[in-house]
Symmetry: C2
Subunit: 332 residues, 2 copies
């Protein structure tokens, strides 16, 4: 399906949301900023930007779809998760650009190019850094206690779940995608995403993990702007549904493998999102809940967006959008 | 000169350089990672990636030039400085893509999408956060003591140097581009840039500020790979020149306004890079040293890459490359 070339009217990165405020509490420190120059005392107190997020916007010369695709990454990652796979294949940015979508790839508040706030001066707590051991288990790469250690060599494949689609041989390359993340900044992140939605207008959000949760929250807050949500393994759902039926939206929930009877917390998250999908449907929204193994697609980790069959998953989403979202094709 | 569309064979983000190593010293901490879930103790010790940088690579369908342009940002910033201007105009990424160059925009080690290492667990010191006050003065926006404070309104123009080309009205938007930076990690940053150069092959580097210094260092370390350096206001130069004359390179040094008799430290940096340019020339390299005011281009701050006349500066660089770099046009 992907075409030979990508023809764009514009590529534009920008920051959005947040504000400048006065920050204090930095201790004066003597540093040499320029090689060869003597150290000088740098006072870092003063006005700083806080709360912004980063986005890059790819506009097609001839878009095939009327709504842009907003790709929202999960916790600990940045927009790079849509641009690259650990084994170096093109990511979903490439796939959906060639399919003819206008696309926004973003870094949420406090991740990557959005900047990393100082603590305790800008945010009270220190951020979380996720170790490869934690990634291995939390992202469902292999059974409990099977993390093979760094510099593992080819034997790593034997440690993973059978049929594992994640390119585990490239685990160390995947580790390079991780950035610090706070665990108590949902409100700030959602606020900046709101500014992004206001700028973009009616959109389709493809959210992964934490990004899928943010997409579900924003779909409630901005029903006119969030027309469709593709929620890939959201670990949480909004506590209430309060959307009026006259702003009908479309939802697709996608879940991978190694969940039922294997990883209890993921099973709990899956069941919560299934219940949420059913509630959306009962309120008149279009909502579909898909477990990939039920479609015969086996072996997907939490990272189906970059698993070896990531193109297959992307195509599943594209054809679902074409079939289910009435007004998605360009009428131009 | 810029054309109507950008036609690309490929857009690809990736991380390069660095390695995975064991990190200790994180104290166990109880956190709730998922909304609604009870807090759990997260042990962050273990294997983490460190030393990597991030790059996005834009490959033209029909490149007009035989060497890719590598855009290396300055201290405190990321690759976004090439993608956006504070007042929302397209940045140099857009300009040079439309001119037909293959382009790499990158985030150096410990900046933006390259990740922000934990301290003291991964890097011994805390990073520097630059306040707007410091930015205002260090980037030559206005005279000593003239920083107008946040939420300044239109009156900010009166505080700036006369004829200031920097879009000072959008100073707060510029603040959003800043990320923490360390001041003692030159070696790690240069090492990762080396991996990038090895991947890209012979290249032209456009470096701004600290990125220009890194480009000059890499030009010595990798003379076969760094064919041309456009050094925009490097605050430092390598202490020795040791390149053999049989790998002749091209250098362009570009400096802005408000330096001579105005900002002493910038005058010192300028004179050091002028001396370096002359030394390169005496060794058989092509080296040109340009002060924009000498060409009648007035009012450029340290941020000529995003000043209001940034397109004019980009065109100056493009035509210099066409004239001076013998083999830069595509023979395809």
């Amino acid at each position: 399906m992907p075409g030979a070339d990508i023809q764009l009217r514009s590529i534009k990165g920008f920051h959005i949301g947040g504000t400048v405020r006065e920050v204090s509490g930095f201790e004066p420190k003597s540093r040499s900023i320029v090689p060869g120059e003597p150290p000088e005392v740098v006072d870092m107190n003063g006005d700083h930007a806080l709360g912004q997020m980063y986005a890059s916007y790819y506009q097609q010369t001839n878009p095939q779809f009327s709504l842009p695709l907003l790709l929202w990454h999960g916790g600990g990652l940045t927009g790079v998760c849509w641009e690259d796979t650990p084994d170096g294949r093109p990511g979903w940015l490439d796939h959906f650009l060639r399919a003819g979508f206008d696309i926004v790839v973003s870094d949420a508040f406090e991740r990557g190019r959005a900047s990393c706030p100082a603590y305790p001066q800008m945010l009270p707590e220190a951020p979380e850094y996720r170790s490869l051991n934690a990634i291995w288990h939390h992202f469902r790469l292999g059974p409990k206690g099977s993390y093979p250690g760094a510099h593992h060599g080819a034997a790593i494949r034997e440690k993973a779940y059978p049929n594992q689609q994640f390119p585990v041989e490239s685990l160390e390359q995947f580790a390079k995608q991780f950035v610090p993340r706070w665990t108590d900044t949902d409100q700030q992140a959602i606020q900046a995403y709101g500014r992004l939605l206001e700028k973009m207008g009616p959109s389709v959000i493809v959210g992964h993990s934490q990004g899928a949760y943010y997409a579900l929250v924003c779909a409630q807050k901005y029903p006119e702007l969030v027309r469709t949500v593709i929620a890939i393994e959201p670990p949480a759902v909004p506590s209430k549904i309060k959307i009026s039926p006259d702003t009908s939206q479309n939802y697709l929930f996608l879940w991978g493998d190694y969940i039922h009877g294997v990883t209890n917390h993921w099973e709990r998250y899956l069941l919560a999102s299934k219940k949420y999908s059913e509630a959306l449907q009962s309120m008149g929204h279009g909502a579909e809940f898909i477990e990939l193994p039920d479609r015969g697609i086996l072996g997907n980790s939490h990272m189906s967006i970059m698993d070896k069959n990531s193109d297959q998953i992307a195509e599943l989403i594209r054809s679902w959008l074409m079939k289910r979202v009435h007004d998605i094709r360009c009428s131009r």
